[in-house]
Symmetry: C2
Subunit: 395 residues, 2 copies
Amino acid sequence: MSRICRALHARESAGRAHGFVRRSLRGLLPLPAACGGGMRKAMSGSAKRIAELSCPIAFAAKDTIVLGHGSGGKLSAELMKEIFLPAFQNPILARLDDQAIVNVNGCRLAFTTDSFVVKPLFFPGGDIGSLAVHGTLNDLAMGGAKALFLSAGFIMEEGLPLSVLRRVVESLQGAAAAEGVPVVTGDTKVVEKGSADALFINTSGIGLVPSDLELSSNQARPGDRVLLSGSIGEHGIAVLAQREGLEFESQIKSDSAALYPLVAKMLQVTRKIRCLRDPTRGGLASTLNEIAERSQVAIELQEVSIPVSEEVRGACEMLGLDPLYVANEGKLVAIVDPSAAEELLDMMRRHPLGRDAQIIGTVHDHTAGLVTMRTQLGTARIVDMLAGDQLPRIC
Amino acid sequence: MSRICRALHARESAGRAHGFVRRSLRGLLPLPAACGGGMRKAMSGSAKRIAELSCPIAFAAKDTIVLGHGSGGKLSAELMKEIFLPAFQNPILARLDDQAIVNVNGCRLAFTTDSFVVKPLFFPGGDIGSLAVHGTLNDLAMGGAKALFLSAGFIMEEGLPLSVLRRVVESLQGAAAAEGVPVVTGDTKVVEKGSADALFINTSGIGLVPSDLELSSNQARPGDRVLLSGSIGEHGIAVLAQREGLEFESQIKSDSAALYPLVAKMLQVTRKIRCLRDPTRGGLASTLNEIAERSQVAIELQEVSIPVSEEVRGACEMLGLDPLYVANEGKLVAIVDPSAAEELLDMMRRHPLGRDAQIIGTVHDHTAGLVTMRTQLGTARIVDMLAGDQLPRIC
């Protein structure tokens, strides 16, 4: 609990100092959206401005890596823009989608990589092994790619019990085999005790993309509908609860799952899908901000349509977290031509991975890069990108 | 120097206790082959048996990961056989080459992954960024594959200076650009201070293999010649010296380099190459043991033909290391039909990456899996696989 307690305490102090509470730790922790509709209501118009005000809490040092750089939110995007993109500059990487699409002798291949540092290694609904498979397969699936091959690289800390390694490797293999994807190449490294935290895994994947398919986060157009395949926040809360030893009335399980079976069906129903994304680190809010930014459109959400389970909502309220920013590992967002939205939604709801699918919003052209939400109280709220790191080491 | 001093001290005690010194730390540190020709001479016949004797030094715990599991030697091979191969069982991985060769719509692709945990991040002749490119490109090149695309995954410790990250990223990009290979996809993760050692990098790569080429460590045949592209041990000694603050008369630089330009030329000269391998972790000795084991052949080396620079030889003698077990990052071993060996050697010596190439040995059929060396004194010595971890975190 120590991290949460510290965070809550810090928020309280910051709140007192300013008389407002949203995202007061600037770049460190966002504040609970669930902490009071009235407050959010009062903020909606000026939230962006307020979030820019200075704060008595020390800023993250500008010249070192902070946890927020791994959040998938604003700091991650900054790091990408300031260090990685200028160095690696090439048009494939610059698409900034979850996967690179490359041509090899006439084949359209998807290629992706992901490192996993989730803590703890085992959590309700999954472990680092199955997560490493689902995460990378989903990055391929969001390009419409059927996965063909996986690699697995293990960085192990001296002293890691072989029984733990064996359990993780078997889980990783089980998850890969369930999707019919072989692990064809691998690597192991060992570092001294204290130089890593038990076990980190990198998986990379190769997939095959249909020749006529162009899914990308820069394809959203005004009028498009935003579909979400199910309820949000389960993975983040499950990992956090396990890490901090929290117990809720009913156990919250990670939604970690491989999404390609759903994607394949969706692509059979319609090719009017512009973009698919899985809202992992940084949650739904960060993913939609990325799409709005790259497509230069606005997105308006309906809070009432966004599925959040009672358990996750309760846990988020208790912990001061906003489910919009909590990680998912088995959900997808689809930006779809309005003419295809209803038919696609019907299909998704008949699939086990999309049972609770909803149309949660619409794409507009009024303010490029802006995501807003019509709240259940009828007010509008800006849904910004995650500014810091809500939950570190969630994947 | 602490690690080295401990190791030397432990060796001394073990040596006193047994009256012999070679590989007395069973699975932890090999002993210096360079510590006296007479001693090695006396051991040659019974080295394998002696290495099996028990030892007063505690054995590595059998149920946890030890540094030796990351050595590329015997413990790495055991881990592979006991945990990874049984779980992932598939014929592509079971080839156990540096890369998987897979078919995608009629293209023969090479796919490989490697994580880099080298300490320190910067060393004479390279850094973790250039090394991460050379290591993965070389794994592709050893399959005869021209590299097409790279991925890069960064695991960063909170507090890593951005200036260090920038320098590494620029070096990584520089090394990739020098070979004309773009980094098309990437990932960043951040862990708390103390949960990783500054920076780990995973690179995965995709390459294209000529349709009629079959290089593999199971292809060596009796009569084949063993070619080595240049002098050994530079990378390992350069990293160790930097890490431990050692100074030699002249600075030893890592040989880290991308080998495909040499490989491409070699394949133009002859297709009678059975196998290419780069002797990285575990050194030349471990690589040749793997080839001997997988091809079920014996390999006999000529010590006099194995190029070792005076600087590396001196450093190894001082540190009690055997250059045969020290890592290289810019050298290759080729197993070649005898009819093509001389022509290939001539060509290699005309290439900057193979200037000091030598024919260092011959493949035989007398004892499957055995590597021996005819020493400069005319005696024979068994060259076993690295039993433990000579130098941890060398790549």
